[in-house]
Every structure is written in C-alpha cells, then in structure tokens.
C-alpha cells in the first residue's frame, strides 16, 4: 500500500464515528440512485423479458385491438395460423383462446381458461406433474382431459395434482344448466407468465376449449404469438409488415412496438427516477465535500508541515483527493449492497399489486446502467474533494504554522 493511501486511510480513521456516518450517508444516496436506475430500466426490461419469455416477438390479435384487451376473437383462425406457419420466415406460431369456464360444485364458480397447443404454447412453464397433450398427441381421446393449472388454482380449490373435476360452458342462468361439460384431471402445475399470480388459471387443449364453447368458437382464437426465424429487429419488423399486409382481419404488434407504447406510459416514472437519482448524486457530493472540507480545516498545521518537509502542492492535492475517493468508494460499495437488498424487498411488495402478471418485476438489475450510475456517483464524490484539496494545497506554510502554534 502506498504511503499516500496509508495516510488517507489513517486520516479517515481519525474520527471513526464521523467517517462511518458519512459512509452510511453516501451508501443511502448510492442505494437510492441504484434503485432509481433499476426501477427506470426494470419496468421496461421486465416487460420486454416477459414478452420474449418463450421467444415470441409478435402478437397477432383481432383487428384494432391489443392482445386480450377485449373479448373479441379472430374468426377463420385455422387458415390464418396455417398461412403464418407456411411463411419460411416464421419459426413457430402459438394460437390461444381465452375464456371463462364454469366449475360446478367447486370452491369458486369459474376459472379463467386458456386453450393452447401444448407443443408450441408460450404462456406457461411446467413446474410439476405432466403437461397436457399436444394436438397431434391425441388430446381429444384423453379421458379425463389433462389440464395444467397454476398454484393459486390449487390453493383456492383445495385440490392437488391427480384430482379430477368437471368444467363446463354454455351456462343457462335461469335453468341452471350447462350445455357442455368435460371431466378434467389436474395433470400439471405451471407458472403462467401473463396472468396475475392471484388469479386461478387453467390451460386445456385448444380444440377441447373450442368444443366446450360451442360451434361458434369452432374456428376462433383470441390471439396468436409468432416467432420470427431471425431475431433481429429488422427481420421481426419485416414479418410484422407481411402479416399486416396479408392478413387484413388482424393486428400484428411486435415486442418493440409494445415496449415503446409502454415506455410512453412510463415516461413519468422515468422522470421521477431521474430527479431522485440526481438528488442522490447531489447528496453524495455534499457529504464528501463537507467531510473533506472539515478534515482539511482541522489539519491545516499538519498539511503545512507536510509542505514544509517537502510535499509538493500536487502531492497534497492528490492526498486530499484520495481521501474523497476512498470515502466515496466505501459508501458506494455499501450502497450497492443496500440498494440490491432494498430493491428485492420493494420488488416483493410491488409484485403483489393486484392485476400484474406473475412474472413481472419492477426492479431489474441492468449491469450497464447500474455501473454507469455508480461510477457517476464515484466521480461526483471524488470531485467533491476538489475544492478542499485545492485549498489544502494552497495553505501558506508559515502562516499556518504560526496560527497552529497560537491556536
């Protein structure tokens, strides 16, 4: 360790309580800055990550609507899906039909149900049990019909995997009868990406859901997700344009477009995050400037002696600068830890907000943004020592020694 570093550390240890308090103050400022950066980038990146969870970059919904924005459905879905699959630039297409099925004699009367094709679905990841069969795996023949449900469904229904129950559609409220019903077995538990965690959900084979809903849903879907073979934004946009041109009854939206729309709505959030981040930079700057100034004022005699025994002005400048740098570094290191812990805690609170997809995060670690902001705080804190460092280097030796002797 160089003598300069030894002296700087020794100076900071001179008033340990004061140094610790300053470091804690910088840590809080750093944590606030980090959390604001994580919040500003987190919501956008979390949304992007959510949309790209299974690799699908495009959403195809009924003309003029956003995905699951209304109860509108796409008619003639089979032809549309086949046309999309026939495009060599499209790697996979996942159609889905969302509806509410009745649960006779259960703890809750109905469940939000997704009709999916298991082999291409992008709505859940299986976490326990077995998946439902795909359309080519004899889904129709399976009796009872395998279903995948989420954890909330199991909790609220009091059921477990392997249990069977009846789902029904076409309810006649007056006669209290259902037109169609099927016995399903709770084959697997899944984590659904786009459904709020507190909402029970069930996934069944798409064709079975259509059958339950009746003839008018024979060839309908709510949404199709499409994956471009090439993942770059230009290729994705080319596929989107092709869909828009060749399929006039649907609206195709890319992940990037969706994110842009979300970003516009989140601009106020980002402005708030920016202001709070700037405040934290200011706090860090002031803390370091105050402490270093105080330290220099207390050590005028010592600094004069350093100059007297042969330390150049530049050496004194570097010495004091180093003290500011070490102070800032210690605070930022603590702030990084504090910020991550706080973000995790706040994220847990916000994730419980009703109506949010289960997989949505508010605070997301973005290495580039985080390191840039912490580096900015480090530079700010170090520069905060500039004025006191310059004043220290300019201390008149004789006068300071005399003042110190008199004082």
């Amino acid at each position: 360790m160089s003598m300069r570093t030894t002296l700087a550390l020794a100076t900071l240890r001179r008033h340990p309580a004061r140094t610790v308090l300053a470091v804690l103050g910088i840590a809080v400022a750093a944590a606030l800055l980090l959390d604001m950066v994580m919040l500003a980038t987190g919501m956008r990146e979390s949304f992007r990550s959510l949309l790209l969870t299974r690799g699908y970059q495009l959403r195809v919904s009924p003309k003029g609507t956003l995905p699951f924005d209304s109860e509108a459905t796409i008619d003639g879905a089979t032809a549309i899906v086949e046309a999309l699959r026939a495009n060599p630039d499209i790697k996979a297409v996942s159609p889905s039909l969302g509806t509410t099925l009745a649960l006779p004699s259960q703890a809750f009367p109905s469940v939000f149900t997704l009709g999916l094709e298991a082999d291409v679905q992008g709505d859940y990841v299986l976490e326990a049990g077995r998946d439902m069969p795909g359309p080519r795996n004899g889904a129709a023949a399976a009796i009872p019909l395998p279903a995948v449900v989420n954890r909330m469904f199991l909790v609220r229904s009091g059921r477990k995997l392997g249990d069977t129950l009846t789902v029904a559609a076409g309810i006649d409220a007056q006669l209290r009868t259902t037109a169609r019903s099927r016995v399903v077995v709770l084959a697997g538990e899944g984590r659904f990406f786009y459904v709020p965690a507190e909402t029970p959900v069930m996934a069944l084979p798409l064709q079975e859901v259509r059958t339950l809903l009746g003839a008018e849903y024979r060839d309908r879907i709510s949404l199709a997700m499409a994956e471009s073979r090439k993942g770059d934004s230009v290729s994705v946009e080319a596929v989107r344009s092709w869909i828009a041109a060749s399929q006039p009854r649907v609206t195709a939206i890319s992940t990037e477009t969706a994110i842009r729309q979300v970003e516009e709505r989140l601009s106020y959030f980002r402005q708030l995050a920016f202001v709070l981040g700037a405040i934290s930079l200011g706090i860090g700057f002031l803390l370091v400037a105050t402490l270093v100034t105080l330290s220099v004022n207390e050590r005028r005699g010592e600094i004069a002696v350093l100059r007297a025994i042969g330390t150049q002005k530049g050496g004194v400048l570097r010495q004091v600068f180093l003290e500011g740098f070490l102070l800032s570094s210690a605070g930022i290191a603590g702030g990084l830890l504090l910020g991550l812990v706080t973000a995790r805690w706040l994220n847990g609170i916000l994730r419980d907000f009703p109506g949010l997809p289960a997989a949505f995060d508010f605070f997301l670690w973005s290495p580039e943004a985080a390191w840039q902001s912490l580096a900015l705080l480090l530079i700010s804190g170090t520069l905060a020592g500039l004025l006191p460092a310059w004043r220290a280097a300019s201390i008149p030796i004789v006068r300071s020694l005399r003042e110190d002797a008199v004082g």
């Binding site: 160089s2 003598m3 001179r14 005699g301 002696v305 025994i309 042969g310 150049q312 002005k313 004789v398």
Partner: protein, 215 residues
C-alpha cells in the same frame, strides 16, 4: 502582518559553514523563526539572497523550493507535528516516500534512523503513545530521512521538561559530531549555550555572533 508592513529581519549577513552547530536566540519577536524559515526555504526574503549548499533558495519557485527542502533541509518543530494517525515508523517514512524510495528501502532507512535516535523498539507506536521527548526524537529521525545538508529546529525543547530537553540537546550534539549541520532557534539562552555558536538577534538584526569554544 495585517495592514502594516513588518520587517521581521533586516540587514542580516550570516555565514554558517558545513558541520557547524549554531543556535539563534533572542527575545520574542526578534525574528528568530523568520530567519529559520528563510534558511529553510519555507519563506522568501523581500530582498537579498539565501544560499544553501551553493543554491540561492530565494530565487526558487514553490515547486523548486519544495523539492529543495525535501532533499537538502530537515525541519524539527516545537510542537513535533507528527501525523497522529501514523506510527513512528510511518512518520519517518513520509519524506522518504515523497522522495520516491521503494517500500523496503523506506522501511529499512526508517528503522535505522529510529534506532539511531534510541527508539528502535517503539517503531509501531503512535505519537499519542509516546512521551514528548520521544515524539521529538521521531521528528528528528523524520528530519534526517533524506540526509539533509542542513537540519533546522524551531524551539525544539519548547514543549519538553528540562531533563528531557537536556537529553534532546545531547542528541543534537551527537548529530553534529556525526557530521550534521545544525541550526536551532531558542528563546532560552541556557539552551542556546549548548551550541558551538550563538547568534543573538535583536529587532531583526544580528546583535552578537559568538563562537563557543567549549560548546
């Protein structure tokens, strides 16, 4: 000083030869410390010249004067001015580090100097753990770090009791016998008489300049 111009020293014409042991004495305010600061290139005269080791220090800029002090001048102050948060060893190493010496060489040199001043076993102690006399010895070791041509001491026994002061003056005598050129300032004529030459100032001028044969 303030709004008034004060001539701290005037018309001083002095030669101090290599190897001399001189004391500058006089009443308070006579310009003793100012003269010491001029000799040590901490201060510059408003007129005149100050030659140390053949170099006119009055003509040096701040950076050059600082570099000159580092290599050629050693300072000992009345109030010791050790860095309170560094050990004795580290305090002695300070000017060595400034001179660019490597860690191992610094350590060795500092140990040697502390041994020379009789504090070889107190290297790791902080100034607060040392007596006044011991702190002043550390300050002397620090002043000797870069083998200066001239050692200047401003009231070196001012903060010490009589017995400790005598021991310190004995160390000064030893330093001088070992070849160090020593000039110290004191208001105490008894202390001044421990030197081999006593220069008495009065109102900024040399009132008397007396070699002491038995000093």
């Amino acid at each position: 000083m303030g709004d008034a111009e004060v001539h701290a020293v005037r018309g001083i014409d002095l030669d101090i030869a290599r190897g001399e042991f001189a004391a500058i004495t006089g009443p308070s305010g006579c310009g003793k410390s100012t003269l010491l600061h001029l000799l040590g290139a901490i201060d510059a005269p408003s007129s005149g010249r100050v030659f140390v080791n053949g170099r006119d220090t009055a003509q040096l800029g701040d950076a050059e004067a600082t570099a000159f002090r580092l290599r050629h001048i050693g300072f000992v102050f009345q109030r010791f001015y050790l860095m309170p948060t560094l050990s004795a060893q580290e305090n002695v190493e300070l000017p060595l580090a400034e001179a660019g010496l490597g860690k191992a060489a610094r350590r060795a040199r500092a140990s040697e100097l502390l041994g020379y001043v009789g504090l070889g076993d107190r290297r790791g102690h902080r100034p607060t753990q040392l007596s006044g006399g011991e702190q002043q010895r550390v300050a002397i070791a620090r002043a000797l770090a870069n083998e200066p041509a001239l050692l200047l001491a401003d009231e070196p026994t001012g903060e010490l009791d009589a017995t400790t002061g005598e021991k310190l003056l004995a160390l000064f005598g030893q330093l001088n016998r070992d070849g160090t050129t020593l000039v110290f300032v004191t208001h105490d004529s008894v202390v001044a008489n421990s030197a081999r030459r006593v220069i008495r100032l009065l109102d900024g001028r040399v009132a008397s300049d007396t070699p002491r044969v038995n000093g």
